[in-house]
Amino acid sequence: MGTFRLHSVLCIGLAAGLAAQEPAWKSKPASQWSDADARQILVASPWAREVTATITRRLTEDQLRDGGQMGQPRGVGNEGVDPKGSGPTVSWNVFTGPGGDDRSYRSLAHPITLRLRWETALPVRLAALQAREPELPVVAADGYRIAVYGIPGGGFKGDPTELGKSLKGLAVLKRDSKKDVKPVSVEVFQPDSGIVVVYVFPLSAEITRKDKQVQFEAQIGRIVVSQTFDLAEMEFMGKLEL
């Protein structure tokens, strides 16, 4: 009898422990989410991922000219992405040196951490309400909205649609055996917390569970970001939420 009681206690404890480890969007209704739960959904959940993107190397003027350009490209993802002091240093010692390794930090590709979020997913919208996060004033039509947070720089002149125009052709959603989906609009917002780029992909793409995975790829100036989302994980209350 004593053994049975002990087992029962252990089972209940284990179940409670497992329930406690289950993320909030699976274990609790939205009305019971704490602020911490909401923050987790907004930052680290199937709909929100911290990703390591790449800042591609800065081209030289010769390379730019050979490619038909002059001057460093400007705009979001180009200006403000190199840390101060990352340019070349000129040494007085011109007799010895590292040869081909004599190059500045900004002339090499380097990583940057960004956050991607499916803004239109219901759990994200509910969590944003809970966390009292100000909503981005996106004007574009309905669609799957993916936001990229954490892009360096700021103070760009132009409205969000104008700033996003040049990024529109440089993003795509990819699925196996299906045609790539291009965004119908891209808008760039500059809240105090940093630059946010919002991509709107058309609902006509009809992303379903059967697609299993969807890969988001975008180039924002010199920043290249790519992230795969597992659609099986992106269910909320038994429904795929994107």
């Binding site: 800065r58 030289t60 003027e61 001057g71 460093q72 007799f95 081909g100």
Partner: protein, 435 residues
């Protein structure tokens, strides 16, 4: 890649202007030991036994939104040695050589956001006919072969650069002529470049030229030319301590002149003007690109000598010509050369280099010990009449034909002849800087 600056970053730049500064100094020792220190037959090698500034350039790119402009001024030997090969200034008035001698590039234009870019530029811009860059810092060797050295370094006119993809450039030209500040005759020069770089390690450059009537005093003779190169980097282990990279280039050129009694094919005696040439270079990089070793050379056969650089005998240039080295239809010049070049590149903005080269000609062409300067003119280097035979006294003979000159110089010690040889061996060292 060859003809491309290896700089990885720009030291200074602003939203509106990116400066460019180049210094190129050399010391060359011609084993023919010309007494007048004059090296003949190249657009990169000019003086023997002297330290010379080949190029000192300042300038840069101006860019504001889609408006663009570039200027690169040019001082040093290039400021006189490049203009002297252009005879177009002999047409009409105003001093074109004086106007452009200190300018290697100067153009303004507009960038249209079409496909991957469309530029329209007008002014004087560099030509990549012959693969190598006009600026030695960008090249694998200092002295390129004839196919490069004897073909244009610049064009004056209008170009359109269209990038339908990020791997392809189509660049038509409407220019005054074949490396000419002005237009020789009635036709402008038309041509273009197709540049295709499908991968990082392969490049195809195809330049085509035609329609131009590029001979002073030959208004009905047109020139056509094709210049095609590939560059292949077939080995790349950038982090390897020893041999880290290998690449090669192959260039083939062909062209001719026709019309006005001149023809592209047939016997030399029937005023044949044609050009066939090639050059091949192989480059090795060592110790993470600290050292570069290039072996290569080429060959050219030029009937009519219309692309053979005129030796500066008694100060001769493309306008004056020289009775000592005529460039008449059907006259052949066949030459070959080879070089071994070692470049030491401790920093991205400096190259120390050394080169040994050998050049050969089937006709007397290179300066020998006696040089190409008439006696009695240690200062100035010319008696002022390069189009005439000179007498041994140094005075002009007053004649462009040898029998008359012989008669006229009888009382002046006879006719002087430059010391032209069939070969030239040369050792060179130098330093080049580019910011």
């Amino acid at each position: 890649m060859n003809a491309t600056s290896r700089n990885k970053d720009t030291v200074l730049d602003t939203k509106f202007f990116t400066p460019e500064i180049r210094f190129d100094t050399n010391y060359m020792e011609d084993f023919n030991q010309p007494i007048d220190h004059t090296i003949v037959g190249a657009t990169e090698s000019f003086r023997s036994g002297e330290v010379q500034i080949e190029q000192a350039s300042v300038g840069g790119d101006f860019h504001w939104q889609n408006v663009r402009g570039r200027v690169l001024f040019m001082f040093g030997m290039f400021a006189t040695t490049t203009p002297r090969n252009d005879a177009s200034y002999g047409v009409g008035q105003w001093d074109l050589r004086g106007a452009y001698k200190y300018t290697s590039e100067a153009y303004g234009g507009y960038h249209f956001n079409v496909n991957h870019g469309l530029n329209v530029d007008a002014g004087i811009f560099v030509s990549y006919i012959g693969l190598f860059s006009y600026y030695n810092f960008d090249n694998w060797t200092y002295q390129p072969s004839y196919v490069s050295s004897n073909t244009p370094w610049f064009f004056n006119g209008v170009r359109v650069q269209w990038y339908p993809t990020n791997k392809l450039k189509i660049e038509p030209w409407f220019i005054n002529g074949w490396q000419s500040y002005g237009k020789y005759n009635g036709h402008p020069g038309l041509g273009g470049q197709l540049l295709w770089q499908p991968t990082e390690w392969f490049k195809l450059v195809a330049n085509q030229y035609g329609y131009g009537q590029d001979n002073l005093g030959l208004p009905h003779t047109e020139r056509i030319h094709t210049d095609d190169s590939i560059e292949v980097r077939y080995y790349n282990k950038p982090q390897k301590a020893g041999l880290d990279k290998m690449a090669f280039t192959i260039t083939f050129d062909a062209g001719c002149q026709y019309g006005g009694g001149i023809q592209c094919t047939g016997a030399a005696s029937k005023n044949k003007d044609s050009f066939v040439g090639w050059m091949v270079y192989h480059r090795f990089w060592f110790h993470k690109d600290l050292l570069g070793l290039t072996l290569g050379g080429g060959d050219m056969s030029n009937f009519g000598r219309y692309l053979t650089l005129l030796p500066p005998i008694n100060g001769a240039d493309a306008v004056t010509g020289s009775p000592y080295f005529t460039e008449n239809p059907g006259q052949r010049a066949h030459m070959w050369d080879s070089t071994v070049t070692l470049q030491y590149m401790p920093r991205e903005y400096i190259t120390w280099w050394g080169e040994v080269g050998y050049r050969h000609s089937d006709i007397p062409y290179f300066a020998g010990r006696g040089g190409v300067t008439p006696p009695g003119f240690p200062i100035g280097g010319s008696n002022g009449a390069p189009n005439q035979y000179s007498c041994m006294s140094g005075a002009p003979s007053g004649a462009t034909d040898l029998p008359t000159a012989t008669t006229n110089c009888a009382s002046a010690g006879g006719v002087w002849f430059p010391d032209l040889r069939r070969s030239e061996a040369k050792v060179s060292v130098g330093v080049m800087v580019k910011f």
